[in-house]
Symmetry: C2
Subunit: 469 residues, 2 copies
């Protein structure tokens, strides 16, 4: 006879659920044998002093999950469910301690990170308005998965915008929107483009370097000269693809002059399988002079893949970037990629209306002024404090500056000191693709000024001084 305790208290689980779980356990432990007939619903309800309904629901659930089967007019019978093999009992098992994430206490810290931006100036209400409009206008599209490259209307808006601001010439069809520069480069480089070799800037974007290596590509880090990537060294590398940041070299800040641009564009034009990836990550911020036209705008041979991002102009957490593929690569890309979208349509349409309403241009203009003010103030404070012991590469562009100090400290000491001073800074080591450091009497830092509040700049410079000396 089947019998077990049913908790009928107010806060107890549903009765049918208790019956169900108890019976499952008995079946799995073979306390009721395979093929054995279960008591009728009425019988079990009587035995357990519960309603027939509860038993009925429990039996239906057991049936749906395959614990029992039914023969019409004969009743319910126990299925042959087999036996679990347990390699280690669950009681033994504990989640490994070293995988536990610790929440990092950033209280009292100041950040000179180059990654973060300024949230205080972001026009959230305007953004939310754009989103409301997106819902109103595109509700039906939201219940579908969008075009894998992003909705066409959004790509049209981006294509018009980059034509205006970056001189980029493209059809909306050439645009692929995704969640960041890294996934875009991953998608691009995962196309089976027969054993290609890629050259990257060194110092440069270390994550891209590792990404390319993880794709089993041959990657050559190329050193920099005063015009950006060293062209002689690059030519020797015998590469097929070149990834550069011509508007504002990351992280050293060099603006690639027209002569070097022509050199690399000519290099690409010489062979049909050569391409340049232009990572235009922060060109929207230029102080004093106008924006530097994109490399893509100078290219007459469809050799440049332009990559733009909204991480610096909007918020990094929004994860919206795009690449513009030359037609030949677009064709390959569309063949290669089994289509699926990684884009949040609501978000992309919000961007669409944010750009169309003029709010995006306004925001960039406002941020240019705001960032320039902080930048000047920071540079001034650095000179005041460090006097002649600091060298600041003062390129009036982007959201970070590149500085050198004469000090006897090692990089590990600097990093340790920064921890103690609660100052988030990044040294050049983070951006070097191989481990050599030319000059050890020379500490080089990449200092972002976007996220720090103006009133905290003096304090940050004081802390930096204690870190360096």
């Amino acid at each position: 006879m089947i019998n077990f305790y049913i908790d009928k208290g107010n806060n107890s689980e549903f009765i049918y659920n208790q019956i169900c779980e108890k019976l499952k356990k008995m079946i799995l432990e073979h306390k009721i044998k395979v093929g054995e007939k279960l008591p009728s619903k009425r019988q079990l309800a009587n035995d357990l002093m519960v309603s027939v309904n509860s038993v009925s629901t429990a039996y239906e659930q057991l049936l749906a999950e395959g614990y029992i089967y039914t023969i019409e007019r004969k009743g319910y019978f126990v299925e042959d469910v087999g036996n679990f093999i347990n390699k280690h009992s669950s009681e033994d098992y504990q989640f490994p301690k070293h995988l536990k994430e610790k929440s990092i206490d950033k209280d009292g810290w100041l950040s000179l990170s180059h990654i973060n931006t300024d949230d205080s100036m972001f026009p959230f209400p305007k953004w939310m308005n754009s989103q409301q409009k997106a819902i109103y206008m595109h509700k039906n599209e939201l219940s579908q998965i969008s075009h894998p490259q992003g909705p066409l209307a959004v790509r049209e808006t981006i294509s018009n915008m980059v034509a205006l601001t970056r001189g980029v010439n493209c059809e909306p069809e050439q645009i692929v929107i995704n969640t960041g520069t890294q996934p875009l480069i991953q998608k691009l480089m995962s196309m089976q483009l027969q054993n290609i070799k890629v050259a990257v800037e060194n110092p440069g974007y270390v994550r891209i370097f590792h990404l390319l290596k993880s794709l089993n590509l041959e990657v050559s880090p190329i050193s920099l000269d005063n015009k950006g990537i060293n062209f002689k060294e690059f030519k020797k590398s015998n590469s097929d693809f070149l990834i550069v940041t011509p508007s504002h070299q990351f992280p050293t800040g060099v603006i690639m002059p027209i002569s070097r641009r022509i050199e690399i564009l000519n290099w690409a034009a010489m062979h049909k399988n050569r391409y340049i990836i232009e990572d235009d990550y922060d060109s929207e911020f230029k102080y004093g002079t106008d924006n530097i036209p994109s490399l893509q705008s100078l290219d007459k041979n469809n050799r440049v893949i332009y990559i733009g991002s909204f991480s610096k102009t909007l918020l990094p957490s929004f994860r919206i970037s795009y690449m513009i593929l030359p037609p030949k690569l677009l064709e390959l890309y569309k063949k290669q990629y089994y289509d699926w979208s990684e884009n949040n349509t609501l978000h992309l349409y919000a961007l669409h209306y944010f750009i169309q309403s003029g709010e995006y241009a306004k925001h960039i203009k406002r941020m240019n002024q705001h960032y320039n003010k902080k930048r000047k103030y920071l540079i001034n404070e650095l000179y005041l404090k460090f006097k002649k012991s600091i060298y600041i590469k003062d390129v009036p562009a982007g959201l970070h500056i590149f500085i050198k100090f004469n000090t006897n400290k090692t990089y590990s000491e600097i990093i340790e000191n920064a921890q103690q001073e609660k100052l988030e800074i990044y040294t050049i080591k983070r951006f070097l693709l191989n481990d050599e450091l030319e000059n050890m009497n020379n500490i080089q830092l990449v200092i972002g000024f976007a996220s720090i509040k103006e009133e905290d700049i003096s304090d940050a410079v004081e802390r930096l001084y204690r870190v360096i000396y």
Copy 2:
């Protein structure tokens, strides 16, 4: 002498910009020679009858872009910029017509797609409230890039939710949030797990099949029996990974009974490198009985990778899915993946508050009733219209049903007819991983009922009848 026409009309470009562009052109075309001295600012301003300021700004821009250089107290000189090589002139070039996207006119169409969901019931205002709260509470985090697996607080919320609704046991650390099942499986399978073989269901999720093949994995499509994946055939395939949809097989709808679950769990427990990926894509929708507990909840050996999605319960365009990695794989994953986040933090925190406020559970409950009503109505209409010529696999779960017709039509005829009738339907052919079709007198369709309006169901069934006969 340098001279050119400057348009001083009201709507003309900034004067400095005109000067700049004209000089650039002259330098690139070598109309001013390398090393030649430019006229002084005052001189050129006089010649062009513009302000000195305009010339000064133009010279600064040319300097920044590297067209000219300056020698202190001597003036400005033309740089050696080189010559462009143009392989084909830009005038010749036209964007290939076949790559142009045509906007598809869906006017008058009815959709029985299994992908789309119902937008009419989505509580947009509640979602926007959650987003407002996310902005209010996490503004500072939005200016940063979040944890690559998603913010810890959001993972905690998901981990609590799946424990409750799916019996899934996990730490928040084990959760990886990303933009869909496909990128998650891509990330998982791109880990260098030495030459693994993967088995998938056939018919099944054809995009995953192609994705795995594109990763150069050996993939075995395994046929189905009445318990889901055919276990004998699967064992013969000698696979290391098995991808299944046990709650509601996609697309045939089979619910995997406990006996088959134990078989595959035991298979995995037998060897340390065996894993099962449980794609739990629509388990939230279950009509009549309770949800079917997840495979992961039965696994005592850390062999199941659980994948959940918000595509069906919220909106497919939101692109939020997650996988729960067993600790051993988590450790490998963290080592392998150079960290970057593809998640929109604002959106994930909106999800977090949407779940925490109880709105998510309410929405699912409401949608269960709504979808069940549509499902019953559709099935009823199908029986009324098709009578005995239809076989409906009536599994009370998910957002689609699987139907068979006796008809002499071929699949190509069906697809052509559906075009003419403006009816979006998907045949089994879309889900078959190899090209064989066992029985050609038998048309099988996967019919989604989520996106169609109740009042359109009769019309859709009428159209379907004309498509089939």
